[in-house]
């Protein structure tokens, strides 16, 4: 019953909610970002991060540092925290936490399949996979020639199996088919996660519905913009949009026929939450759209912590950490390329 979670939540979820709120207090602040943005070299960044929770992960890294090393080590911290929470969680929280990984699993599957298509070494591809998306039989993906084999040989025993029903064909894997597979899998995953949260009910359902709807809408906009000028047909584009969200179904109908960024703006400005996002952009420009969406997402994720006794805080924390890692990657790249004047183009402050 919604509103009575306070009576029972802490029996199984109290410890981990306290843990995740503790983790949240370790997120970098605006003062940390200001210090990082003034660094001259990557070693300076390492020095500043040594005073944060990332310190133990970076302290043994030799100079000269590379931006990918900083991102890799920061991601390891996130993975350690996630694994600690997962091992302590009971149902249904453990299933909820598993759902958070599935997006990364899809990305890893696509990375392996694409890399294999391009005749890359499997070991090299495995090193580039996100650690949260690893599973036992991932290396076997390299042997599959089409989606049917992909499913039958490897993915049938993974949590992604139910998402494959919509994209099993015997067509050979090529760049466009892989892209459609990626987006179809992600669509099925988001819808499944949405249904799971709805079943949980209460504050989890209310807050996660909002966050997942935003994710679905953002994906729809990105798919639209990225497919402008490509061979993807309108029907195929429409099929990649999720069947929920603020834009479903009428916004999707308009987005499916957009041929340029201004038409996308016209479709999105009819929805008040997205009007504020597009008002930050000038006409014909889409460079700052990613940052505008990230800022909106961070605002919503931070609001999830304002309420207690629900699982959305775990999802929010993972997403906020991923945003922090994106920020660190961007700052590192700007410092490495001596482009410090552009550092605020993509940094999204969390607090």
């Amino acid at each position: 019953m919604y509103g009575f979670e306070a009576m029972t939540f802490n029996i199984h979820g109290g410890y981990l909610e306290a843990i995740v709120r503790g983790y949240r207090s370790g997120l970098l602040t605006a003062a940390d970002y200001n210090n990082l943005c003034q660094c001259e070299t990557l070693d300076d960044i390492k020095m500043h991060l040594s005073a944060t929770e990332y310190g133990p992960y970076l302290q043994n890294e030799p100079s000269p540092l590379h931006t990918t090393t900083i991102v890799e080590k920061c991601t390891l911290k996130l993975v350690d925290e996630y694994k600690h929470m997962l091992t302590q969680a009971t149902e249904p929280l453990s299933s909820f936490l598993e759902y958070i990984r599935y997006g990364h699993m899809i990305d890893n599957v696509v990375l392996i399949v694409t890399g294999t298509l391009h005749e890359r070494d499997v070991q090299e591809l495995l090193e580039k996979c996100h650690p949260l998306g690893m599973f036992d039989s991932i290396a076997t993906l390299a042997v599959a020639q089409n989606m049917r084999e992909l499913y039958r040989l490897v993915l049938v025993d993974t949590p992604l199996a139910p998402y494959f029903s919509e994209c099993i064909t015997s067509e050979d894997l090529d760049d466009m088919n892989i892209e459609i597979m990626r987006n179809t899998l992600y669509k099925a995953y988001l819808e499944d996660f949405y249904r799971f949260c709805q079943k949980l009910g209460g504050a989890t359902s209310e807050i996660m519905s909002d966050l997942l709807a935003f994710e679905a809408d953002r994906r729809a906009v990105n798919i639209t913009i990225n497919s402008i000028g490509t061979e993807l047909t309108r029907d195929d584009r429409r099929k990649l949009y999720s069947n929920f969200g603020l834009l479903y179904p009428y916004g999707h109908e308009e987005l499916a026929v957009c041929e340029d960024i201004d038409q996308v703006r016209g479709a999105m400005e009819k929805y008040p939450p997205y009007q504020s996002i597009f008002s930050k952009l000038s006409y014909g420009e889409s460079q700052m759209l990613d940052k505008a969406f990230y800022e909106e997402e961070v605002k919503r994720l931070c609001l999830a912590f304002e309420q207690q006794f629900h699982y959305a805080v775990f999802f929010a924390y993972m997403r906020l950490r991923e945003q922090e890692i994106r920020n660190l990657m961007w700052i590192s790249e700007c410092v490495a390329q001596n482009q410090k004047a552009r550092v605020h183009d993509s940094v999204v402050f969390i607090f």
Partner: protein, 213 residues
């Protein structure tokens, strides 16, 4: 009479040597501008690549996705060294059809005379080059019976194909990265042609200095 003829000849020699020095200085100036433009184009390209990684994610934009399958190059570089032409001439042939590499859909020719002539109009050679080769494409495609629209479509198709190693649906930031590196490649070819001219001018000036000693 003889002294006036000698005077006319010597003044002609002086003006020729001055012209050679001016040509050398002009070439040097163009070369330095182009090197600076190349540095800017590459800097912009790398920055946009970082921006594309930020947008699409590190798993979608990384070197492990480069295509190692053997395939025809869509952009090739030609060196023309004929007896009639004093200097080697470098040509970039962009976005040829990867299905039929013999058929070039676009060519960019950077004539050193055109560069020197247009130097005074704009300090940005890559824009001049772009303007010059756009008009050349239209003339060339008209010669071979094609249309500018077909040429553009073929080039767009090849651009899309080369980016598809990162996925069929890529961010506009990645396409901007491709444009920046494409411009950098054009500037490199311009630099090659200008450097060739610069070295010739230098040889001429050096020869004259030796003769006067």
């Amino acid at each position: 009479m003889r002294s006036s003829e000698n005077g006319i000849e010597s003044s002609k020699e002086i003006s020729q040597s001055e012209e050679n020095v001016i040509n050398f200085l002009d070439s040097m100036d163009t070369y330095l501008i182009l090197v600076d433009s190349l540095s800017s184009a590459l800097r912009q390209g790398w920055f946009e690549l970082a921006s594309a990684r930020q947008s699409m994610g590190a798993s979608r934009v990384n070197s492990s996705l480069f295509d190692l399958k053997s395939h025809h190059a869509s952009t090739t570089f030609q060196v023309d060294e004929h007896e009639d032409i004093e200097l080697p001439h470098f040509t970039l042939c962009k976005w040829a059809s990867s299905d039929d590499p013999e058929k070039y859909s676009e060519e960019a020719k950077f004539e050193e005379d055109e560069l020197l002539r247009n130097k005074s109009d704009s300090p940005r050679p890559q824009q001049r080059g772009a303007t010059s080769h756009c008009s050349e494409y239209q003339e060339r495609s008209a010669e071979i019976g094609g249309s500018p629209v077909k040429v553009d479509n073929q080039a767009e198709k090849e651009r899309f194909k080369s980016l598809s190693m990162f996925g069929a649906l890529v961010s506009p930031k990645l396409r901007a990265t491709q444009s920046s590196f494409e411009k950098a490649l054009e500037i490199v070819v311009e630099i090659s042609n200008v450097r060739s001219s610069l070295l010739r001018s230098y040889d001429q000036v050096h020869e004259e200095l030796k003769n006067t000693k």
